[in-house]
Subunit: 391 residues, 2 copies
Amino acid sequence: MSTLQQFLRNSINHIPFDPIKLDTPIPLNQLPTPALIIDLDKYDLNLAKMQNHLASHDMGLRCHTKMHKCPTIAKKQLALGAQGICCATVSEAEVMQASGINQILITSPIVTPEKVDRVIALAKHSSKLEIVVDYIDGASLLNAAAAVADIKLRVLIDLDPGMGRTGISPGPKALLLAQHIVYHCPNLEFSGLQMYIGNCMHTLGFEKRSKKYRDLLQQGIDTKELLESNDIAVPVFTGGGTGTYDIDSSIGALSDLQAGSYAFMDVEYRDIGGQHGDHFDDFAPSLFVLSTAISKPQDLLITFDAGIKSLATDTSYPELKNIKGVKYHFGGDEHGIVQLDNPSQEIVLGDKLPIIPPHCDPTVNLYDFYYPFRNGVVEEIWPISARGKSQ
Amino acid sequence: MSTLQQFLRNSINHIPFDPIKLDTPIPLNQLPTPALIIDLDKYDLNLAKMQNHLASHDMGLRCHTKMHKCPTIAKKQLALGAQGICCATVSEAEVMQASGINQILITSPIVTPEKVDRVIALAKHSSKLEIVVDYIDGASLLNAAAAVADIKLRVLIDLDPGMGRTGISPGPKALLLAQHIVYHCPNLEFSGLQMYIGNCMHTLGFEKRSKKYRDLLQQGIDTKELLESNDIAVPVFTGGGTGTYDIDSSIGALSDLQAGSYAFMDVEYRDIGGQHGDHFDDFAPSLFVLSTAISKPQDLLITFDAGIKSLATDTSYPELKNIKGVKYHFGGDEHGIVQLDNPSQEIVLGDKLPIIPPHCDPTVNLYDFYYPFRNGVVEEIWPISARGKSQ
């Protein structure tokens, strides 16, 4: 017997937060597959490169934990100098806060009483908690709840870059909302603006992406100036991501970047193209799904044990990491069928091979644990504590 | 500190097995969204209808738990008369066995020592455990491990219906494998054949599906006769699914059906067409993702809080259950953008509406719990204990 609230509170630490050290280190080829593995050498380089790049451009990093869902990784990013983390959902933020992290921005608006209650509980625990709002009634709802709790809740206005997903239109409408918050919501503290231009992150080709992004961001820059010219301070202007990190640092408008995927990368991000070629390789793939060849019913096919329950299906196709001349097709929930057109190495039953995920975020969300490795050996297991926390 | 084996054993009951009774029943509109909800009236009808249909045709039901991943549902299916359950993976079978179910068939072959060890552990606990094999060395591997454990392991031969996913070719090759098992693998007990014709389940149109299925199944029927004419008894011939349940019962070749989706249904299955129309409605949708309208950045769009981390993306599109004249588009990991072409009812921010999942299996796999409801109220929570058990 339990109330729903007790049940939900218990589910926060459903999966542990801390790494599990293994008594006996395990070679990769003894892992049960499909297994989510992290190449620690590549991962370390990715984390350091983004942090150093932004620091040298006087930009902060507010890394998006919706990508990795893992307190261990978030704490590493903070230790390297990130100013805080982003969470996409309230339940993700609950996990991150319960693991000991306070500098959290919830990047998606909420509108229902039960979610508001949970956000207020988070804010009571830490005054550093921030959340976005994107309409006047939403701000009033948060303000009323903050008043009852006798706290001051930090909010940012979410601007719609034309995606039509979340956010208020840049310009006069955003100004009205800011004025409402500043003058009519005494229990809200206005922290600034968020403009995440998700419709640019995967634009193919650096020049095209850069141009499109600059055009869209300009509306956010103008809105910031509009607020400031109306005597409303805008200390934070947050947005951007892995696909625009170097564009954002050259523009210099954002206070901090909301990047996530740079830590792991994936097929989709690689293929957007970089400043110097068709592959965006500023960050190296460090996340793989290790999968076993389990059946060979036909001569030119071999079947792996990673299907649509182990790899995201929303964008491009998975790729075998080290083998050319093959093509991966989804073969249902538990299987991937690899077409052996002209394989650069022989694949035999029992082989455990790394697959580059098409899209890292929803792939990670399918697993409870990472197996990080160095020199082919896994020494500890990292819980993906916020996996499935989509609420 | 832990060994990998201890860690994996602990993860079997990572999520509890039994329903959690709520102190205070909760109306649907107070659930935190996105939430996976089950309409119990529809679900009960679906379960009874399939069981009764098969019983009246002298066929068994070996329901596939890869779909629902839930011991509570599996036990209900067994209580209604199912002869056993199917699991797609070893870790799924570990959860089901730990919850108290012994009649388990693992429907996908395994080839690595660590998986073989785990299957042997399951078989030591229950002699009813069965697993498929699809090549001679695979049978030898299982036989050697069973000999070491001093047990007799029940195996079925998996036949490839031309999908090229798993299975051995029907006909002489399958006979050779059966002879190998019967005459050279003293620690294996040959139970029969599996032929899951997955490439037919979603063939559009009943007549077309029926014809294609009958043609492909004939190879399995012929193989069964070939084995029998070579003095090898074939007590089990298992296969089929929701999309062929009435075709299989009219053919009468299978001993039991491996159906899963009939309990919940989804957009993909509805659209295959039934005997009497464009919609396959022998079973009613009983599973929905309850989602909240959280943002309205543009007049003709409204954004819900269910994206690609809450709904499968591998087949068709999600649909709002009760509203016509709208179209759901994926808007990233956490959002769905609904295009308001000509909505049959107004949708306002805060509305919690049920969405029919495009594909039930991989949607279920994104959640830890079901909220079953009757008369709009949830009285208990059912753990999806085998969620993420893709190993």
